[in-house]
Symmetry: C2
Subunit: 260 residues, 2 copies
C-alpha cells in the first residue's frame, strides 16, 4: 500500500497552496475571518495541500514580502482583501510591486465597471475606477456581485475580502487549478481521554504513514469527547483505519458517538 | 498633535506581537479558529500591536522556522495548539529545538499532573506525562481546567489550542506583558458607497496620520452599509475624527446608522 502511494506521489505530486488574508481589521480583532475555512475545505476536496496561511496588515512592504516568499514556495497563492476603492485597498499595488510590473487600467475591467455603475446611476469617479487597475499580464477573475474584478497573475490569485464575493471568485477559478488526488477523511468520536488513546494512536499512525491521523478534544452534546480523524488520499487505507479506530475504542472500553 | 504623539512613540514604543496558530485541522478546513480574535482583541485593548499571524501545520521544521523568524521580529510571540498528549502534539519539541535547549520533565508540572490525575482516578501513563516536558528555562503557565500547563520561554508564550483553556492561560499571562498606549476605536456606519467616500476618506487619513482609518462594507439589518473605523491611541484625535466622519456622511447626503 505504502509503496504504491509513494509511486503515485512521485508522478502526480499533489499541488500545494498558501493563503494570505490581508487586512488590519483581522489583526485588530474587529473582524472574525471566515474566508480561510471556505478556501481550505475546497482545496482539500480538490486534492490541493494548503501548507500555510498568513494574516497580515494593509502594509505594502509586508504584503510584497509575503507574496514573494509564498509564491516561490507553493504552486498556488490566494489572497483575500484590499481590492476595493478606498485608500486602505492596496493589494493590486502590492502585487504589481511583487511582480515588478506596471498597474495600468485594464480595458475590460474598465468596461465592466462603467457598465455596472451606469446601470445603477453610480458616478464612475476616480476612486471607483482604481478598481480597474490590474497588474500587467494579469487575467481578470469575474465578480458577479459588484463587478470589480479579482485577478490572476503567475500563480497568484487575488480575491475580494467580502465573503460572498470571495466565494464566487474562488469557485470560478477552481476549475482552472491543477488537482491532486482528493483528500478525504474519516472520523470516529468517542468518550475516551486523549491520554488513554495516545499510545495506540501513535502506533496506528506509524502503521499508516500515508494517512494523517489527528485527535481533537471537544464537547459533544455538552460532554467531553475526542474526535479521531484520519485524512488522506488512499481510500483503502482510510477504510481500514476507520475499522481499526472503532475496534480500538471498543477494546479500551469506550463508546462511539454517532454523528448527529 | 502629531508632534507630541511622535515623541511619545519614540520614548514608549508600543510593543509588537505575532501569533502562530498550530494545527493541521486549521489548514484542512475541519476547524474554524476562534483563538486569534480573542487574542487580537485583548492585545489591542492593552496597547500591544499584533503585526502578523501565521497558521501552520504540525510539522516540526515549519514550526521551528516560524517561531524563530517571529520571535526575532517581535516583542512577543503567542502560539496556540499542539501541547496535548498525542503524537501530533509536537509544540514543546519544536520550541525546545527553536531555542536549542533540552526538554526535560519539569518537576512542578509533573506534580500538578500527578495530583490532577490521582484526584480523577486517571492513569498517569507515559503519554499523559509527556505534557510535563517543558523546554529548559521555561516558566509554567497555569491551566486551571485540565492541569497540563503552557509555558513561557524568552519572549514566546505557548498556549493550549482548546479555546477555553487558551483563554484562561492568555488572561493569566496578560498582566506580565509590557503594555503600550491603549488602542481605541470609533466607528460610524452609514448608507453611502465606499466609492463615494473614498476621496474624502483619503484626505481625512492624510490629515490624521496618527490614526488608522479603515472602511468596511457589510450588511446592516440586511441592507448594504459601510462602517468607517478609526483606530489609534490619541483620544483627542479620535474624538475629532468621529465628528468629522459624521459631518462627512451628512455632507454627502448619507444617513448614520445607530448601533443596535
Amino acid at each position: 500500500m505504502k509503496t504504491s502511494l509513494s509511486t503515485q506521489d512521485n508522478t502526480t505530486r499533489a499541488p500545494t497552496a498558501a493563503v494570505i488574508l490581508i487586512g488590519n481589521e483581522l489583526l485588530s480583532g474587529r473582524t472574525q475571518d471566515i474566508n480561510l475555512q471556505y478556501i481550505a475545505n475546497k482545496l482539500a476536496t480538490h486534492g490541493i495541500t494548503l501548507r500555510e496561511t498568513r494574516i497580515i496588515p494593509d502594509d505594502e512592504a509586508v504584503v510584497v514580502e509575503a507574496v514573494n516568499v509564498l509564491r516561490n514556495a507553493n504552486d498556488y497563492v490566494f489572497t483575500t482583501g484590499g481590492i476595493g476603492p478606498t485608500h486602505d485597498d492596496i493589494t493590486a499595488d502590492c502585487i504589481s510591486s511583487a511582480f515588478g510590473v506596471a498597474l495600468p487600467i485594464h480595458p475590460v475591467a474598465e468596461q465592466l465597471l462603467l457598465a455596472f455603475f451606469q446601470e445603477r446611476d453610480i458616478e464612475p469617479n476616480e476612486d471607483r475606477m482604481r478598481m480597474a487597475r490590474i497588474p500587467e499580464g494579469g487575467k481578470l477573475i469575474d465578480n458577479p456581485i459588484s463587478a470589480a474584478p479579482g485577478f490572476n497573475i503567475g500563480n497568484v490569485f487575488v480575491l475580494a475580502g467580502v465573503p460572498r464575493i470571495m466565494q464566487a471568485m474562488f469557485d470560478s477559478i477552481l476549475p482552472s487549478l491543477r488537482k491532486g488526488p482528493v483528500i478525504q477523511s474519516v472520523s470516529v468520536t468517542c468518550n475516551l481521554g486523549e491520554g488513554t488513546l495516545a499510545a495506540p494512536l501513535r502506533e496506528l499512525q506509524a502503521r499508516y504513514p500515508m494517512l494523517d491521523l489527528g485527535s481533537y478534544p471537544g464537547k459533544f452534546d455538552g460532554a467531553p469527547r475526542v474526535m479521531l480523524v484520519a485524512r488522506g488520499t488512499d481510500i483503502d487505507a482510510m477504510s481500514q483505519i476507520e475499522e481499526e479506530l472503532k475496534k480500538l475504542v471498543a477494546s479500551l472500553g469506550g463508546d462511539i458517538e454517532q454523528p448527529a
